[in-house]
């Protein structure tokens, strides 16, 4: 329908050359063109955080980011947090605490939690609540989510040893 741009993106360590219209969001490109459906479209307006990905290591709303603006910044999606069959410490902690209910928001939550722990390896409850305040969840009431991040911090410390 519209002219397409030739884009080159690095996603989860892999380079992808794709054609996309200028208005295509990173979220739609990931989901529809690269088959990476872990990031979810729950509000498509930058409010709920279900589409959170890491852009050059920083959490970003993929639904608000135009694919054409990504440039050479590496993109990490939830699929990229657990190479092969392994689980990241954060993913393991979310499973072990029973924080995951319907799971629709959880991929974004796990990406945000990963970014939070990259910055603050040992956050207190207040810092976790603050750090995840941009990720809406309708099932959990956030109690077990906070516990999951606390456990993830512990798992990460154990991995360091």
């Amino acid at each position: 329908m519209t002219d397409k741009l030739a884009l080159s993106l690095t996603v989860n360590g892999e380079r992808h050359d794709v054609l996309a219209p200028a208005h295509r969001t990173l979220l739609d490109l990931l989901r529809d063109q690269l088959g990476l459906t872990g990031a979810k479209k729950a509000c498509n307006a930058g409010i709920c955080g279900a589409c959170t990905v890491l852009l050059d290591g920083e959490p970003a709303r993929a639904c608000l980011c135009l694919a054409a603006n990504v440039g050479d910044r590496p993109v990490t999606t939830v699929e990229g947090l657990s190479p092969g069959n392994s689980l990241s410490a954060v993913q393991r902690a979310f499973v072990d605490t029973g924080a995951i209910q319907c799971g629709f928001c959880m991929t974004g939550m796990i990406v945000s939690a990963t970014a939070l722990l990259d910055e603050l390896p040992d956050p207190d409850v207040g810092q976790i609540r603050e750090g995840l305040s941009g990720n809406l969840c309708r099932c959990s009431g956030y109690v077990k989510v906070v516990e999951a991040v606390q456990l993830a911090a512990r798992y990460r410390r154990e991995e360091m040893r």
Partner: protein, 791 residues
Amino acid sequence: MNKPLGADPLEGAIGLSLPRLEALEKAVGDARFVEDMTLPGMLHGAVLTSPHAHARIRGYDASAALALPGVKAVVTGEDFETRYMGLVVKDETALAKGKVRYIGEPVAAVAAVDQETARAALHLIEVDYEELPAVFSPEEAMAPGAPLLHEGYGSYFKIFDAVHEGNVLAESEIVGGDPDGAFQGADHVFENVYELSAQYHAYMEPVAALAQVDRDGRVTVWSSTQSVFRTQANIAESLGIPMARIRCISPRIGGGFGGKSEATVQPAAVLLAQKTGRPVRIALSRDEDMTTMRSRHPARLVCRTGVMADGTIVARSLDVLMDGGAYADDSPAVMMFAMYFGCGPYRIPNYRLSGRAVYTNKLRAGAFRGFGNPQGSFATESQMDEIAEALGLDPIDFRLKNALQPGDRWIDGHAIDSCTIRDCLEALRDGCDWTARRAQAAARARPGRRRGIGIAAVAHICGFMATSAFVRLLEDGSVALNTGAVDIGQGSSTALTQICAAALGLSPEQVRCVEADTDASPYNSGTNASRVTYMVGRAIGEAAEVVRNKILEHAGELLEAHPGDLELQPGGKVGIKGVPGKTVSFQEVSIRAHWGTGGPIMGSGSLVFEAGEMDPKTALATGFMSFNACGAYTFGAQAVELEVDEVTGQVEVLEVWSAHDVGRAINPGAVDGQIQGGVVQALGYALTEEMVWQDGRLANPSFMDYKIPGSLDVPHAIHAIVLEHAEPTHPFGAKGIGEPPIVGIAPAVANAIRQATGKRLRRSPMTPERVFRALADEGDGVGIDWPNGQA
């Protein structure tokens, strides 16, 4: 049946806090929700919705849309015969036909090669409307000469004997004892009006459907639903396709809370797939989901209670008015459910419970976690505190004085098997250190704030409708469990797996829970009414019993022993009672059955409560859909401690305690999760969540303007207090916990605000503006902006 918990070594799977069976795939991003699915040749669908609250459709012109490159089909009301669908009242068509009745109603649908083209085509469809006068509140709808939404209402099929008139789609009354005489004889009579706004379900996954129609016309639909069988029924009814030619499947579901009970866009997806011969996926955007799907009912309640000077309640009347929106959906049942809980968990000998559900030209209201009980309980549990205060009684003592006792019956004469409201209130009193916190509230408030703590009691029910289960022994001795129940994220598949494992002495890893699929699964009416763990658990118990007996017969042959002398042993073995060491495995049994004699081992169970009539010696009912004998009653009690900002009226919740008798916690971690999540959804309902309509147009269809709680908006200290008084009718004593946590929070918040500030709010949600007005002595918030909210 009341065995001590954890006594039976076969039942090791019960009481384990296992993560969800599918937690891992959800954590790594592999879980497939409908919008994550594609099929070869799949087209993208989009839905055109009505811009008018009430209008006649004179015609359509889709030629410009069809001319757009990439558009493959347009369907409108001209593409199907008039056929109605609906659970309680059949009043909806697949797309609007003849008339539109709310802004946001699906009018036409497009299939195109991509999402952008489909949406672009919507703007090119011309619909010729003749606008009609509209009504936006029950009062307007009930006024003399009001425009009728459904002229043919009388001829619609209804599953109950409806009393109706004009836009009132259901009217009902239950009278027990002598309420008029009892009010006259009461020392004090309290009467107050309470109002609540509409709440949006806000499941994180907007509704989506993927439909495929094969060359023979057989339909397959993957959709975001709480019941594959209700989806199948909706498609069959609205499109006139035999159920045997419709297969409905649920992939992962991103929450439901009642809002995905009935189909909405699924028939439109089927129409497009039929027309194009290609798979079509429709995925609603968030604003479409908010304007098109459904809400919790706005309600106005008049509650009247007669008490004696010593605090004994002698009479209660509750009048429920519900704004049902443009289609009936579950409205009559929701309204009657609020009536059904009008006396709460209390002994009240004389009562008049009445209600009306009314059509208006707005989004349909429907099932939402709690199903009318949160609205009713806001009125009754707020007023309980108002009475206690007037009589100088402690709120918990006053409730205990009137609480139902074991052996008591519900207002319709239904026996209450395990009546534990007193235990819940006492557990809450201890759990939240009630007396001390109540006494110290004012002293502990931070500067500029006022602190209070409030409680509410909770009564609910788990059960309803038909359920079945298949349990099948696989060749290696493990088990396939198939129930047709859709896990919408609440964890039922995990809990049912644990129940099945325990029934056969297996570990959960030895049980495979099959996903709901109408082609393969036995009937389950849906994931509603806190019913799955209780109802399906019972059906599994029955099915497993059949399997167990067949296993014992085969084992008897293999062990040359009488089946009566045999016993199951943990891990899938059969042994001879009192003879250690001599066992056969389920695998040996199953191989014998598969290849030797008898045939593969399978068992089924099925269950429905007989909907008995109300006992006329107890109460007289008119227009009421009987809920008699439909499940097990559940009890709870909740407390909220909060602070109110004196300047802004902002409420900050500091701590919540939620005590519930769950019968037996099959998965304690999941029970805590249900309680914590329900409490937070209830805090949103009580404080910030309000759908606002202006002339029938939803003014806040986004998460920016409709505020669901985030992590900073609610306390981390949400204490689940779990009581386990085994329910005698369930094989492992379990009751439902899905809904009760949302029922008592709003009145507990109102009661806490009252203690904190001396002001009583009878209007929910208790937004900063409403609290601020109350602080400024501008009243309780009633009679101002109901039902359309605070613009």
